[in-house]
């Protein structure tokens, strides 16, 4: 049974169909890449699945539960977490606070324990900080832990965003262009992290333009065109597909 599936998703903006009757299914433990030319509906697909915008039609199912139109926060609780294309850091917070924020179910996030400074809350904070610092170290941001995240470079922001989402220990991780604007060294690093997470059992869905990295990384490619599913399958097969070459690559492989 698939872990996450979208069935017949449609979303219109001012009469334009951003995605049109799109169905995609993702199995547990898969590493799936979503590609397509600009305006193919990749980000809209992500937004509809992750609850940022409700689809006009169709259903989204997570672990057999209908989660269509659920809020991003409730999906995050169910184990589906995403990043954003234009890296959205909480710029007015430090790197460490960015990561610590994401820790789920902290009792100190409720008024009374916060006011009473309960031992439970204090102990949790110790654990949260330890976990956050581990992640920050994993992504080699430890020298920046107390910097405001507005001071980070584009690549560092992508790393921070990844660290923040991992704080939630998600079942499904949806990455919207994690390599955009990132230098080749860092791209490889991020790809290695993603591969490692997937090896540990996390299901990952990636939108990406960076074809080379994507095709060598994923188990399966989903190609969208004008809001519809064009082709899906193993990267090698998909890239050989005539329709893909015509529609997306225009014969000019990057």
């Amino acid at each position: 049974m698939s872990l996450l599936s979208a069935d017949g998703i449609t979303k219109e903006f001012g009469g334009l169909r951003a995605i049109d009757d799109l169905s995609v299914s993702i199995d547990e433990g898969e590493l799936v890449g979503v590609m397509g030319p600009n305006g193919a509906g990749k980000s809209t697909f992500f937004n509809c699945v992750s609850g940022v915008i409700p689809p006009d039609n169709g259903t989204v199912t997570l672990r057999g539960t209908d989660v269509t139109g659920d809020s991003p926060e409730s999906l995050a609780h169910r184990g589906l977490v995403r990043t954003f294309q234009d890296t959205r850091e909480l710029e007015t917070m430090t790197v460490r606070d960015n990561v610590r924020l994401a820790a789920p179910d902290q009792s100190g996030e409720r008024t009374l324990p916060a006011l009473l400074r309960s031992d439970e809350m204090k102990n949790e904070e110790v654990a949260v900080r330890r976990r956050a610092d581990q992640l920050i170290e994993t992504f080699e941001l430890d020298h920046l832990a107390d910097e405001y995240s507005s001071n980070l470079s584009g690549g560092q922001r992508k790393l921070l965003e990844l660290a923040r989402t991992l704080m939630l220990d998600p079942d499904v991780l949806m990455l919207d262009e994690p390599f955009a604007g990132v230098n080749p060294t860092l791209t490889n690093e991020i790809a290695d992290h993603v591969r490692g997470l997937n090896d540990d059992g996390m299901t990952v869905v990636i939108i990406e333009h960076e074809l080379e990295t994507l095709t060598s990384l994923v188990d399966r490619l989903v190609v969208l065109q004008q809001g519809r599913l064009l082709v899906e399958g193993e990267p090698g097969v998909v890239l050989e597909d005539e329709r893909v070459i015509d529609a997306y690559l225009g014969g000019d492989v990057e």
Partner: protein, 347 residues
């Protein structure tokens, strides 16, 4: 890595202890024959200090809403007014006009806080999703509506005269004028310090982290699993309840409430105090408020030595106050003690 460096509890606890201390000493003055003697020069300072303590609760609540959560509440005075009126009407014995129920004052104060909080619930339930500047307009309009309701429904709210005959618990215990103002300052100052300790605890905890994340980027905060509407509503209602508490205490100190005490000027004063000091920093907003209220002192003294009328002087003061607001936003958007990076402004 100790607990301490994660939860900077220092000034929160100091404030708590100082607040309790103030309350105890204030209680001593009120309940025992102990008397204070106040040089007449200081009298005006103590009076302005009392107003500062009351406005301090307003600015701390507003800072919770705007400084931490980013909610632009430009009708803060309405919660202050509703708290004051509710307290006054429940406690007042012989009102000139309007309703006075004559219940004991602690109950009245509680009703005042609850009434303001309930209004906060209603306003946030309807408007918290609006864009920042439109939330400002709705809250401002709400304040204007209530102002005109208080003026117009004379049978209930006493019209322009307001509600008279509100019991003054401290004045009722202390006959001597000097002792009375000192005790009042201590008690109200103590409550403000305890308020400071409370909001500090709240914002130092993970709770405050969520609030600041909402101000930074609400969608990201939602995508990491935080129910932002709940937090925004809570922050708004807590701020409203604090304003209600300030209003109730004001009614019980002043012995009367009237529309003239609750004009947009109050909102403007606490906003300028907050921005001047530096939003999102509790001590800074109190310091900023102290500067703005210090201007009142200057104008009180200045009025005595300059040859202009009170009306001219008041107008001059407001010109200065307005220009301070303009200048702070332009030249020091993070305020005097605020952190520009934390507030996301250029300088």
């Amino acid at each position: 890595m100790s607990v301490r460096d994660r939860l900077p509890s220092g000034h929160g606890n100091t404030a708590l202890l100082a607040g309790i201390g103030c309350l105890l000493v204030g209680g001593l003055f009120s309940l025992t024959p102990l008397q204070a003697e106040l040089p007449s020069v200081l009298y005006v300072f103590v009076e302005v200090g009392i107003t500062f303590a009351i406005y301090g609760m307003l600015v701390l609540g507003l800072d919770l809403q705007y400084g931490h959560t980013g909610l632009v509440n430009f009708g803060h005075v309405v919660f202050f007014a509703v708290g004051a009126y509710a307290t006054a009407m429940v406690a007042a014995q012989d009102t000139f006009s309007g309703i006075g129920l004559g219940y004991p004052w602690p109950l009245a104060l509680l009703v005042g806080v609850i009434a303001a909080a309930l209004l906060g619930v209603v306003v946030s339930a309807t408007s918290i999703r609006l864009r920042d500047d439109f939330l400002a307009i709705v809250t401002l309009a709400t304040a204007e509506i209530f102002h005109s309701i208080f003026v117009n429904f004379e049978g209930i709210f006493g019209g322009n005269v307001g509600i008279l005959g509100v019991p003054r618990p401290i004045a009722g215990l202390v006959g001597d004028a000097d002792t009375r103002v000192v005790a009042t300052l201590l008690v109200l100052g103590g409550v403000t310090l305890i308020t400071l300790a409370t909001v500090t605890r709240l914002t130092d905890a993970p709770y405050g982290r969520v609030l600041r994340a909402i101000r930074a980027d609400e969608l990201v905060t939602r995508s990491v699993g935080k129910s932002t509407i709940t937090y925004k509503t809570q922050a708004f209602v807590y701020g409203a309840a604090l304003a209600g508490l300030a209003g109730g205490l004001f009614a019980l100190y002043n012995g009367a409430v009237a529309p003239g005490f609750f004009t947009i000027q109050v909102t403007v004063t606490v906003w300028i105090g907050m921005l001047l000091g530096g939003a999102a920093n509790h001590r800074a907003v109190l310091a900023g408020l102290a500067i703005i209220m210090g201007l009142r002192l200057i104008s009180r003294f200045g009025l005595g030595v300059t040859p202009v009328s009170g009306d001219v002087f008041a107008a001059l003061r407001l010109v200065v106050v307005g220009l301070i607001l303009v200048a702070v936003i332009r030249f020091r958007p993070a305020g005097i003690w605020g952190d520009p990076q934390e507030l996301g402004v250029d300088r």
